[in-house]
């Protein structure tokens, strides 16, 4: 599903954010990207969603060669990917329900589909009762659950979670991880970027470790091992 082939990303000041990186992620996998700040996790995500272009190499997502996609085709690519951010990035003037509704309307879903799917998704993330609340009326954990609901509502092939638990307490952290695991069980590929040792050691899933823009380890059942 995802294939990075000899990918490098060099910024204008000659600093290499990624240096000749290659890896493959198959459909329905749960993969954790681990590394310190500046190791290259965010760059991999940016290249995957077409926010940056690779300086060298190929970035493939399904049938798309992302690094060669035209600017106008990027929105189509992004509708196949759900993204969850550390700082939630909900639309502040829309309620929990409307945030999810917006994602569905933007991808052209009908009113009937929207009315049918959103209650199910809100129920799955445990927010059925808070659907009318605005983001500022929700706790950090609840906001992140809305963000996950928004990311999964269009049934994307891949969900990217970029440090989704970075702003949460341990209780909420595991709730979020469990939701991601459930989504993965339903057949969605998950790419989780984190440097939370606890999560990585307890997940027992594939871990790609990065350091200075290079892959230093790629293990089927990885653990948190960083210098």
């Amino acid at each position: 599903m995802i294939n990075f082939i000899n990918v490098s990303k060099i910024y204008k000041n000659d600093s290499a954010a990624l240096d000749n990186v290659s890896f493959k992620i198959n459909s329905k996998e749960f993969v954790t990207l681990v590394g310190k700040s500046g190791a290259g996790k965010s760059t991999i995500i940016k290249l995957l969603i077409g926010e940056e272009k690779a300086s060298r190499g190929k970035v493939l997502f399904g049938e798309h060669e992302v690094s060669r996609l035209d600017h106008k085709d990027i929105p189509y690519l992004r509708r196949k990917i759900g993204i969850v951010f550390q700082d939630f990035r909900l639309l502040p003037l829309k309620t929990a329900y409307e945030n999810i509704e917006f994602a569905m309307e933007a991808s052209g879903k009908t009113k009937q589909e929207i009315d049918e799917v959103i209650p199910q998704v809100l129920d799955m993330v445990g927010l059925a009762d808070q659907s009318g609340n605005f983001p500022h009326e929700l706790s950090g954990g609840e906001r992140q659950r809305v963000a996950i609901a928004r990311a999964m509502v269009n049934r994307p092939a891949l969900i990217i979670a970029d440090e989704p638990t970075g702003n949460l307490d341990p209780g909420n952290t595991w709730e979020i991880i469990n939701i991601l695991l459930r989504i993965n069980e339903l057949g969605t590929t998950i790419l989780l970027a984190t440097h939370n040792k606890d999560i990585i050691n307890n997940l027992g899933k594939r871990v790609i470790s990065l350091d200075n823009g290079k892959i230093i380890r790629d293990e089927k059942k990885g653990r948190y091992i960083l210098k």
Binding site: P75, K80, R89, L91, L93
Partner: protein, 303 residues
């Protein structure tokens, strides 16, 4: 397509309603700008009418000797009418001049008595010349002076008597026209920039939200559309409010303007042209709203 448009309208209205303070601030600035814009339109109308009135009051008359034949005078009239810059030449015969004089002084018994005793028409026939511009009169008079064979029947021209006044009025008209144009141009540019920057700032304050929409893969029209709709709502409300605010102001200042421009009432003009002026406001506001929203979103989001 209908679904997309209705969704864009819904989000545009939602942006407007939920961003209450931003909406009030933006509408206030737009209201000021549109009021200035409307003031400019009214200012132009009044100065143009005033200048036209002033121009109309300036003329040159040629008075002919009592021996002058009507045929000769009419020949001069035709030659003058063929001149460039000459707008109109009116022939006033001795009889017509007398009739006009009598009418003007019909309530003055002394003058009536004097005319009866004279038993003759003491007035001269004349040609009243109006030029396109006050500055053209000197040229017309120079042309008259060159026609040596006309001189024996010409008694006098009023230009020489009024030369200084005509030249001064000419200068005032020119300066007023230039000043009016300059002021309109300068304030229009200011109004456009203020509107553009206001809407840009409103969009800039939502840039985080816009970037989230982009990352979600929202189509560009779905991102830009609601902000354009919000811009249109701002403009329409500001246009309506400015019409409502200007109305009593026009009613208040109209009587004072009569001192300067006696032939036109600003209040009547405003009432007669209300729909047209409202249309200008809407077109100006909405066009600026749409263009500003487009440019700002493209600038901040690189869509």
């Amino acid at each position: 397509m209908t679904t997309v448009i209705s969704r864009i309208l819904k989000y545009g209205w939602q942006n407007f309603r939920r961003n209450r303070w931003l909406s009030i601030a933006t509408i206030s600035i737009l209201l000021l700008t549109l009021t200035v814009f409307q003031g400019l339109i009214l200012f132009r109308v009044m100065t143009e009418t005033g200048i036209a009135n002033l121009k109309n009051k300036i003329d040159v008359s040629i008075y002919f000797t009592s021996e002058a034949e009507e045929e000769g005078i009419l020949t001069i009239q035709r030659r003058l009418e063929q001149q460039e810059n000459v707008k109109q030449v009116e022939y006033i015969s001795r009889d017509k001049a007398l009739a006009m004089f009598k009418k003007r002084h019909e309530d003055d018994p002394t003058i009536n008595q004097a005319l009866r005793e004279l038993n003759d028409n003491p007035l001269s026939a004349s040609l009243n010349i109006k030029a396109d511009n006050p500055s053209d009169y000197s040229g017309i008079v120079a042309f008259l002076d060159k026609q040596k064979n006309w001189q024996p029947i010409i008694e006098k021209t009023t230009y020489r008597q009024n030369q200084l006044v005509i030249e001064r009025l000419g200068n005032i008209v020119n300066t007023a026209e230039k000043f009016g144009f300059g002021l309109t141009f300068f304030l229009s540019i200011a109004a456009i920039l203020v509107t553009f920057n206001t809407i840009s700032l409103a969009i800039y304050s939502n840039r985080e939200e816009l970037s989230v929409m982009r990352l979600m893969g929202s189509p560009n029209n779905f991102i830009v559309g609601p902000y354009v709709v919000t811009g249109i709502i701002y403009s329409v409300i500001a246009a309506v409010l400015s019409m409502v605010i200007i109305w009593p102001i026009v009613g208040f200042i109209s009587p004072y303007l009569k001192f300067f421009v006696s032939d036109t009432s600003l209040a009547t003009y405003y009432a007669d042209n209300f729909l047209k002026l409202a249309g200008y406001q809407l077109v100006f506001g909405v066009t600026l709203g749409i263009v500003s929203a487009h440019v700002a979103i493209r600038k901040y989001l690189k869509i």
